[in-house]
């Protein structure tokens, strides 16, 4: 498999310095499961599980797909662990509280999200991978990088922080146009939230305009990340069952299983459109 982001670790040099030429000449090595410096104390040979990431903006259908994939994988006999943003025991609630105030600044929020991410990585994901589980991540470092980058925090800085993150086996990007995301999100909550519309960035006083501009900036960042990290881009505007079919096909082929047949149970049938 090609790994377009092979040199990530070296690009995240301190002070934003470009990578040294000599690093590129280093003899070819099998791609590390980390982007750069590995997390202290992790033995790679112990990690027998698989990490699949679903990325995409609000309203791209990620959570729906995670529910369906979990059921499918479990029915195929695989144990599944999930992760998502703000779900760490350590700081998950604190981030909620910070976001409810308007006093938090961009670097603080960005670093609180990093804390949340690494707490989940070290306490939930790595133990699951050591036990041979399949981890389904509802968003990963890419959303965190994109959100901070559109707020003016340097990309190299962000990649430097997340160089200790584990490289996913596959990263799917459910790409939807901001207008479609708006319709879906509005239907869900009958309004659009402060952060979803990036109102801290003062892009527009009109909520719709603010949402569209913010999500367009995020989308542009994802286009860059997609090239750098080799995302599998999917049309998030397709029907739930069609997107799910493509996801199952790619995942099944990665896991080396043949069966991709799936019909959601009664409990999840309302998601199947």
């Amino acid at each position: 498999m090609t790994r377009p982001d092979k040199n990530d670790g070296s690009r995240a040099a301190p002070n934003g310095r470009p990578a040294r030429e000599s690093r590129k000449k280093a003899r070819p090595e099998p791609p590390s499961r980390f982007y750069g410096t590995p997390l202290p104390g992790v033995k790679l040979e112990e990690l027998s599980g698989t990490l699949f990431v679903l990325e995409g903006t609000d309203g791209s259908g990620r959570s729906t797909q995670i529910s369906l994939l979990t059921e499918w994988l479990e029915s195929e006999g695989f144990a599944v662990q999930t992760m998502g943003l703000r779900r760490s025991f350590l700081v998950g609630e604190d981030i909620d509280a910070l976001m409810a105030e308007n006093s938090v600044t961009r670097t603080t929020l960005s670093l609180m999200y990093s804390t949340d991410f690494f707490d989940q990585l070290e306490r939930r994901i790595l133990p699951a991978l050591r036990s041979g589980l399949i981890v389904l991540a509802d968003r990963y470092i890419f959303t965190l990088i994109a959100r901070s980058a559109v707020r003016g925090i340097g990309r190299d800085y962000l990649h430097g922080i997340y160089e200790m993150a584990l490289r996913p086996d596959l990263t799917f990007w459910l790409n939807v146009r901001p207008e479609v995301a708006f319709d879906r999100e509005f239907k869900k909550a009958q309004t659009i939230s402060y952060w979803e519309s990036g109102r801290d960035m003062s892009l527009s006083n009109d909520l719709f305009q603010s949402f569209i501009r913010y999500q367009s900036l995020i989308k542009r960042e994802f286009e860059y990340l997609s090239k750098r990290h080799g995302f599998i881009e999917l049309d998030g505007e397709g029907s739930v069952s069609e997107v799910n079919r493509v996801l199952r096909k790619r995942i099944a082929s990665h896991l080396g299983i043949r069966s991709t047949h799936y019909q959601p149970s009664h409990a999840l049938s309302h998601l199947w459109r």
Binding site: A12, A13, P14, N15, G16, R17, P18, G36, T37, L39, P40, G41, F89, L90, V91, D94, A97, L98, S103, V104, T105, R106, T107, T108, S110, L111, M112, S114, T115, F118, D119, E122, R123, A149, V150, R151, G152, I153, G154, R155, D156, Y157, G160, I161, E163, M164, M201, L217
Partner: protein, 253 residues
Amino acid sequence: MRLHLGEFHMAITFPNIPAAEETAPAKTAVIKRQYPGALVVVEGIDGSGKSTQLYLLKRWLEIGGYRIHFTEWNSSPLVKSATRRGKQRRLLTPITFSLLHAADFADRCERQILPLLHGGYLVLADRYIYTAFARDAARGCAPRWLRNLYSFAPVPDITFYFRAPLDVAVNRIVAGRPKLKYYEAGMDLGISLDRAESFRIFQERILSNYDQMIETDNFILMDGTVRVNKLQKLMRQIVGERIDLGQFAPKKK
């Protein structure tokens, strides 16, 4: 009046302005940024005498009516509950410990230190990013990763490094405290089951990390065993030589 030039380890840009790495020539590692304020920092292990000396410096400037602000490490209410929860329940790994403290520092930096520097204050900081470099590296974080993590912080005008022999410093702390805290003593590293012993070894590692920064980060070495008033006299003299204090003096009407 001399216009003071503040420095940043790296550029923090604003939305819609291309990021520095796209526009700046490849070799510009340090981006200069102007602010009229100045930043004086004290660093050193616990018990090195740095806080006493910074307090006396602050009193001297306060009494003189200078525009100053004093700030210390780990004082932001925003991330306090997370830090407390993590420490009480011993949930922190070297990485999350480091990130949480960086978030805390970022809050102080963006909401206090930077506005004050832009507003023309002389900012006095009891501990700064070098504390994180020395302490978190002693916990096993990669120095390169730490340097990047804190690269949003302005570079101090003066960094006083108070150095006392390990025994002197450790005795000062142990004598004044009934019980050393878990993380403070580096118990999370599993060096020793005895807290006093663990604390000593942890401080020794931190001390050696500090020593390595004397040259790379232009520390001014201060001998923590010198008599308090004598050391303070030297500190005031150095501040007077390196910073245009007139800039922060009370305005005459």
